[in-house]
C-alpha cells in the first residue's frame, strides 16, 4: 500500500477504475444509456487526444471512423456473421481504412489536414446515404443482439460493462504507446516535425501508426454503439459529433489520457444537465439545442483562450498534483531544466 501512496497516479487510477466499475449498478436504470455513450465517447477521445497531442494534428472528422466501425459491425452482423466476429472486425476495418487513406492524407498538416478529415467525413456521409446495401439515408435496422460465448448482451448494464472493458483495453494500449520509445518520438513530432525527423524519428510511419490507432479506437467504440443502439444511419454520425470530440479533447487537454477521460465525462454530463434543463416544462422547443451549442462554443473558446493546457493539466499544475503519465514527468522536468538554464 505504501508504494501506491507514493505514486498518486496509480492510486487515482485505481479509485477511478473502482468508481467506474460500480457506476452501472449504482446509477438509476434510466441513466445507464448515458453512461454507455459517455464511455464510448471516452474511447474515441482517448484516440483523438493521442493524435492531437502526440501527432500534433487536428482531426475534424474523427466520427468517420466511429461511423466505419458502426457500419462494419452492423453490416457483418446483419449478413449473418457471428456477432462477436462483427464486433472484433469493427476496429480492424477502421484501422485498415485509416491506414489506407492516411497514406495520402497525412502528407497534409495543420489546417489542411483538419479540413481534409472533415471532407472525408462529409464524403462518407454523402456516399453512405446513397448506397442501398448500406440502407441509404434510412440506415441499417435489425442488428442482432451481441452474443459472446453464449452470453447475450441484452440490457443496458451489460453494455455498460462491455464499453468499460473496451475503454480499459484502449487506455492500456494508449498508456503503453505513450510510455514507449515511439511514444517519446511522437511527442517530439508534435512540437517540431523537422526536429523529430532530423533526430531520426521515422515521422511518416509514426504519424500513420497513431492515426490508424486512433481510428481503431473509434472503430471499436462504433462497433459497440451499433450493437447497443441496434441501428445505424448516416444521421447517427453527424459532423457535429466530430466537433464534439474535439471539444472534449481540448477541454480535457490534448495528449493526456486523464484529460481525454475528464473531457468526455465533463462534456457528456454537462450536455445531459443542459438537456434536462432544456426539456423542463415551459422551455421553448429549441432550448436543448440552443443551450448545448452555446456551451460547446463557449467551452471551446474559453478553454483555448484561458486554459490551453486543458482541464487536467491546468488543474494539475495549480495543485502540483502529479497525475500525468511517466512521459509527461520526464518532458516537463526536462523543459523546466531548459527554462532554468536559459534564464
Amino acid at each position: 500500500m505504501s508504494h501506491l501512496l507514493r505514486s498518486p497516479g496509480t492510486l487515482a487510477a485505481l479509485v477511478v477504475a473502482a468508481v467506474a466499475a460500480a457506476m452501472p449498478v449504482l446509477l438509476p436504470p434510466s441513466q445507464v444509456p448515458v453512461y454507455v455513450l459517455l464511455l464510448l465517447a471516452a474511447i474515441v477521445v482517448t484516440g483523438l487526444s493521442l493524435l492531437m497531442g502526440y501527432g500534433g494534428q487536428v482531426s475534424l472528422g474523427q466520427a468517420s471512423f466511429y461511423m466505419i466501425g458502426g457500419y462494419s459491425a452492423a453490416l457483418l452482423a446483419v449478413h449473418g456473421l457471428p456477432t462477436w466476429v462483427a464486433l472484433l472486425a469493427a476496429p480492424v476495418i477502421a484501422t485498415a481504412a485509416a491506414a489506407l487513406i492516411g497514406v495520402p492524407l497525412l502528407r497534409l498538416r495543420g489546417h489542411h489536414l483538419a479540413f481534409a478529415t472533415l471532407a472525408v467525413q462529409l464524403i462518407l456521409l454523402s456516399l453512405a446515404g446513397r448506397q442501398e446495401w448500406a440502407g441509404g439515408d434510412i440506415g441499417l435496422q435489425g442488428i442482432p443482439q451481441l452474443e459472446v460465448a453464449g452470453y447475450e448482451f441484452a440490457d443496458d448494464v451489460s453494455y455498460a460493462y462491455l464499453a468499460l472493458a473496451a475503454l480499459a483495453v484502449v487506455v492500456l494500449i494508449a498508456r503503453n504507446v505513450v510510455d514507449s520509445r515511439p511514444g517519446r518520438g511522437l511527442r517530439a513530432l508534435a512540437t517540431s516535425e523537422v526536429a523529430a525527423e532530423s533526430s531520426g524519428v521515422p515521422v511518416a510511419g509514426y504519424k500513420l501508426a497513431v492515426f490508424s490507432l486512433s481510428a481503431g479506437f473509434a472503430g471499436l467504440a462504433g462497433g459497440v454503439y451499433a450493437f447497443f443502439i441496434g441501428y445505424v444511419a448516416p444521421g447517427s454520425f453527424p459532423v457535429l459529433l466530430s466537433f464534439e470530440y474535439v471539444v472534449m479533447v481540448v477541454v480535457g487537454g490534448t495528449g493526456t489520457i486523464w484529460g481525454a477521460l475528464a473531457g468526455a465525462t465533463v462534456i457528456t454530463l454537462l450536455l445531459q444537465l443542459l438537456n434536462n434543463i432544456g426539456t423542463m416544462e415551459g422551455m421553448p422547443a429549441a432550448a436543448p439545442s440552443v443551450l448545448s451549442y452555446a456551451v460547446y462554443g463557449l467551452l471551446l473558446v474559453l478553454a483555448m483562450l484561458f486554459m490551453p493546457q486543458g482541464l487536467v493539466r491546468g488543474l494539475a499544475f495549480s495543485s502540483r498534483l502529479e497525475v500525468r503519465w511517466g512521459t509527461w514527468k520526464t518532458i516537463s522536468s526536462r523543459s523546466a531544466k531548459r527554462r532554468r538554464s536559459s534564464a
Partner: protein, 287 residues
C-alpha cells in the same frame, strides 16, 4: 445545348458565392495568418438577417446592405475573440473560430429557428441563346465581378489596402513603421465578414440556408481558396468558379447528391498534390 448553358450559368452563379466566401478566407489568412472557420457563419448570418429585414419591410438593397454590415460587425467580433488576446497562435485561432461557429448556432436558432429559410431575390428569367437564365444568377455574377474588382483596387491602389498587404507580408517591418498589426488583422476580419455576408445575401435566394449550412459553405470556400494556397484571391476565384460549374454539371447530368462529393474529392486531390510538391521544412516555416 440550352441545358448546358443553363447549368453553366447556375454553376457560375453558385461558384461566385463560393468565390466571395473564399476571398474572405484569403483576406483574413493573408493579414492575420488565421484560417477562419467562422467564414461560412458570416454568410449564414447575413443570409438569414436579410430575410428578416425584408419581411420587416425594408426595401431590397437596404435590407441586403444592412445584413452585410451586420456580418461585418460579426466578423470584427470574431477577430477580436480569435486574435485579440496576445499569444494566440493560428492553430488555437482556428479552434476558437470553430467554437464561435457553435455560439452562432445557438444565437441563430434562437432568432431564426432551425429550419432552412430563403428570401426572394431578383425574380424572373431572361432568354439567352435559347436558354432561360434566372436573373438572380446574372445578378450574383455581376455583383461578384464588382466586388472582386473593388477588392483588387483596394489592395493595389489604396494606402490602407497596401498597408494590409504589408502587415501580412512582414509584420515586424509593419510594426517598425508604426502599424498595429493586431488591429490590421481585425480590419481583415471585418472585411472577411463583409465578403462572407455578401455571399450570404446573394446565395440565399438560390439555395435556402439554415443555421448549419456554414459547414458546407466553409468547405466549398476553403476548397476554392486552397488552390491559391489561401493567399491569392485570383486563384481562389478561378477555383471557386471551377467548383461551382463542376458541381452544377454533376448535378445536372449525373446525380445532385454527388455534387458535394465531387467538390470535396477535388479539394483533397488539390491539397495532396500541392503538399507532395512541398517539403516538410517549408510547411513548418509556414505554420
Amino acid at each position: 445545348m440550352s441545358d448546358l448553358l443553363q447549368y453553366l450559368v447556375s454553376g457560375l452563379a453558385v461558384g461566385c458565392g463560393f468565390a466571395l466566401l473564399a476571398s474572405g478566407l484569403v483576406t483574413v489568412h493573408r493579414v492575420s495568418g488565421t484560417v477562419n472557420f467562422a467564414q461560412g457563419m458570416f454568410a449564414v448570418v447575413a443570409g438569414l438577417a436579410a430575410g428578416s429585414f425584408l419581411s420587416a419591410g425594408l426595401p431590397h438593397g437596404v435590407a441586403e446592405v444592412a445584413a452585410v454590415t451586420a456580418a461585418g460587425a460579426v466578423g470584427l467580433l470574431t477577430g477580436l475573440v480569435a486574435t485579440g488576446k496576445p499569444g494566440t497562435g493560428p492553430r488555437a485561432a482556428l479552434i476558437i473560430t470553430l467554437g464561435l461557429g457553435f455560439v452562432a448556432y445557438a444565437v441563430e436558432i434562437m432568432v431564426w429557428g432551425d429550419g432552412p429559410r430563403s428570401h426572394p431575390g431578383l425574380g424572373g428569367t431572361i432568354q439567352v441563346a435559347g436558354a432561360y437564365v434566372q436573373r438572380q444568377h446574372l445578378l450574383v455574377i455581376a455583383a461578384t465581378a464588382l466586388v472582386f474588382t473593388a477588392l483588387g483596387l483596394f489592395f493595389s491602389r489604396t494606402y490602407l489596402g497596401k498597408a494590409l498587404s504589408a502587415a501580412a507580408s512582414n509584420p515586424y517591418a509593419a510594426r517598425a513603421v508604426g502599424m498595429n498589426v493586431t488591429r490590421m488583422g481585425l480590419a481583415a476580419f471585418a472585411l472577411g465578414g463583409v465578403l462572407g455576408g455578401t455571399a450570404g445575401v446573394l446565395l440565399t435566394p438560390m439555395l435556402p440556408i439554415s443555421f448549419n449550412s456554414d459547414v458546407l459553405l466553409i468547405t466549398n470556400g476553403f476548397a476554392a481558396a486552397i488552390l491559391g494556397g489561401l493567399n491569392r484571391p485570383g486563384l481562389a476565384l478561378a477555383g471557386a468558379l471551377t467548383l461551382g460549374v463542376a458541381e452544377a454539371l454533376v448535378a445536372g447530368y449525373l446525380d445532385a447528391s454527388y455534387q458535394t462529393v465531387v467538390a470535396l474529392v477535388l479539394m483533397l486531390a488539390i491539397m495532396i498534390w500541392q503538399a507532395s510538391r512541398r517539403t516538410a521544412l517549408d510547411m513548418e516555416a509556414a505554420r
